[in-house]
Amino acid sequence: MTLAARLRGPGWYRAALSQPLSFLVALVITVGIRAAYGYEPLFDWDAITTVALLAMPLGFIVGIGCFDYWFRWASGAPTIPEDHSGHGAKTWRDYFRVNTDHKVIGIQYIITTFFFFIVGGLMAMVVRAELAQPGTQFVDPNTYNGLFSVHASLMIFLFIIPVFAGIANYVIPLMIGAPDMAFPRLNALSFWMLPTAGVMMMASFFAEGGAFATGWTAYAPLSTETPIGQQFFTIGVQFAGASSIATALNFLVTIITMRAPGMTFWRMPLLVWANFTTSLLVVIATPFIAGSQFFVLLDRSLGTHFFDQAAGGDVLMYQHVFWFYSHPAVYIMMLPGFGIVSEVISTHARKPVFGYRMMAFSLVAIVILGFTVWAHHMFVSGMFDWLRVPMMVTTMLIAVPTGIKIFSWLATLWRGVIHLTTPMLFALGFITMFTLGGISGIILAVIPVVIHVSDTYFIVAHIHYVLFGGSVFTIFAGLYHWFPKMTGRMYDERLGKVHFWLSFIFFNLTFGPMHFVGIDGMPRRVADYADQFATLNALISVSSFIFGLTFLIFLYNMITSARNGPRAVANPWRAHSIEWQVSSPPPVFNFDEIPTVVGGPYEYGVPGAVHAVWGDDKAPSKTKVSHDATPQPAGGGAPPPNE
């Protein structure tokens, strides 16, 4: 291919070319408008940067090729016929292209989000190094504030939320017997918006005045007054948010319209339920954070007065709009994990999920209640008093559906045949840690206590118990569980168990003591603290370094096992759900023939029960048990039509 052809066609060459071009466009627009208005100086680099932050990611996404098909179609040009050449990935290079295969996109999501997980984790290590003793050692206060802000933003917007989208992307279509997602091109676009958001947030460290340093909450009016680094957050969130809305729409349509025949809502695996409810939350709530950040952007760039109290703005409005998204966001970061844990516990304990319908109803209840509790983040914010008690009550009521889930998982374990595999260990670890995080969550609804502990390390402890001990443990459980399906190889069980036990122990040693220092009076988001907290902080820091190192075990296990692990059979866990009935890894087009669903997904122990049947077996058979189907070797599925 000639260079000219490469620059014209979709891909990295054109994406690279798009960067200087879109910067130039931003420059011309900004300078042009300033010249027309006669503003001085003509070259205002803050203004140019702001416009470039919008133009360059768009340029990248167009350059890499997400819009090619739509542009041709919209302009009436002949579209390139869909020959499915974009399906599947034959070499690692294929993962760096715009690809419409949900399995490729799923892997793209997972690898990308783990990259940002590592970057965010390293930032946490620097934060802990600085906090290992009182005083200033490694970083100045500005860098420190930048580090914890970028750490949180990457972990939330570039790791936990999208990695669940990645796992679901891979698993959900297989689970519901669909050949792909409903909108494969939109799916690709959703993915490619993510790295732009993450790179933007990381790049803020190179901005004049340092990275955005107002926390991931970016409370106005601090965020409307700080240097240009803040724009990297304000705009980065727009791309991450747009990505997550598009994915959620895709999941909703896929789950509603593309389920295999016979898969009624009450036969859907709970992971499907979980992603269905999560997607509802995303679609309804995410526009609110987009709005809050647009207000900040407009205040900063165009001189509006949303949060300028002197000009009639309202500072508290920021917090209401922000938390109207960001509280549901914690369920966006938790419900998919609930789904994963239901799959893992049922499969590895060989028992039907206890109270399946209540498990599904409780997800829906959490979605609804989740929209009625946002102001519990604002008990000391100076908002009107009367809203506090109702929000306390609704917050505490969320314990009821959450309790249903925890008790049902326990009841699922009871009288099961429990295989303590790595995914099962992480699921059990999740139950423990999440129960603790849930209990501190109840405590954090009781207003008089919150008046004391809000904005302290108690909050930091709570959020890490629910998001790391909760969400991230379920992510590990899910990745180990579906690793054989995704890679066609088995991970190293021994290393997996070492990873679990070390992270379980050092997780608790890292975040447990934070409860104590918080109640004892250490505020969060401080680069320096009173000497009385020195001992516990030293312990926390040392544990956190070991905790950080345990991640390397996971990384080593995943990489070496994906390359050289023993071949996985199609259904190593003898699970009933559909994704395990196809080869590992699945055929390019998932199914040669769409299965018919004839029963629930977790009928372990029920003689003759099957979840789905193919072809001749369509009539529900009383004798056939799905795990009797002999495990097929990797690649044992029927070849894809184009091979």
């Binding site: 206060p141 109270g355 009288r415 004892d520 988001r525 401080v526």
Partner: protein, 348 residues
Amino acid sequence: MLGMALVSLVATAVGIAISLAIDWFPPQASTAAEDIDHLWDVLLIASVPIFVLVMSVAIYSVLLFRAKPGDLSDGAPIHGNTKLEIVWVTIPFIMVSALAAYGWVVLNDIEKKQADDMVVNVTAQQFAWRFNYPDEGKVKSNQLVLAKDRPVEFHVRTEDVLHSFWVPEFRLKTDAVPGQTTKIRVTPSRLGEYEVVCAELCGLGHSTMRQNVRVLSPDEFDQWLASEQNEEGGGDAAAGGGGDQAAAGKEVFIGDGGCTACHTLADAQSASAIGPGLDELTANAEKFGKQEGQSPEEYVRTAIEDPNAFLVPDFNAGVMPTDFEKRLSPAEIDTLVKYLLSVSGGGK
């Protein structure tokens, strides 16, 4: 099963005992602290059994029902149990309702209006607190001084971004919100020295935004108030007389200006490193002033009124608030400039 129940009960008892034995909180220095700490204990007593229950069932299941090597059988095909599900919906519902009701009662208790409470105005700015006592002769102070057992109503305001007024020993906290006056009521109940801490991220100097709180006996407090009232009068006379402008400048530096929060200056006994140190200011003003074509006085004035116009090497734009020109009167800025140039020649 019986053994399991027994072990769980013992674990619950031990768990509650340990959790109550832990000294969680800083000392109780307000009447509200007792109520809140008591509520905390009740929350612990309610939480421990739930956690122990979850853990016991999980651990027992793993111990009792763990698969033997090579066991490919399935568990019992139990799909649910309506009675059990009703139980674990109802009990948590009752528990959280009771706790919420108790929390509400405590909330009303600690926020109750006290008879003849003293109003203290709290003003937050990046990165310092100032206090004044409007009913007690408008005394101004940089440290919070209170009388034991004398109820206070704090009226909290901010001059710039959000801050949060928190004295951990009082257990009470409220954000300082631009454009609003937020209020909290406290009755100090213990003599001693504490710190008021900013709990809401407010910028670079957030972690240094701490100031002294002293709770005195009512007699000592009245003495302190009287001496402050005298000093206040004396200070005004000096400034009014125009005799010692530099002394008035020092008042601004450590008082309304709040400069000590970020700048090191030996004469004012401040030692913060968020902004440039000012002990060498005279020399720097000559050096940088020459670069900018300004006299030292003009240079210092510009640095106060338009801090981003010239940046001292190693310091970033946008750190220093830009509204001192509005916040301070021209006369105050004059005295500040004179004061700074008069005390910062020490290096030479």
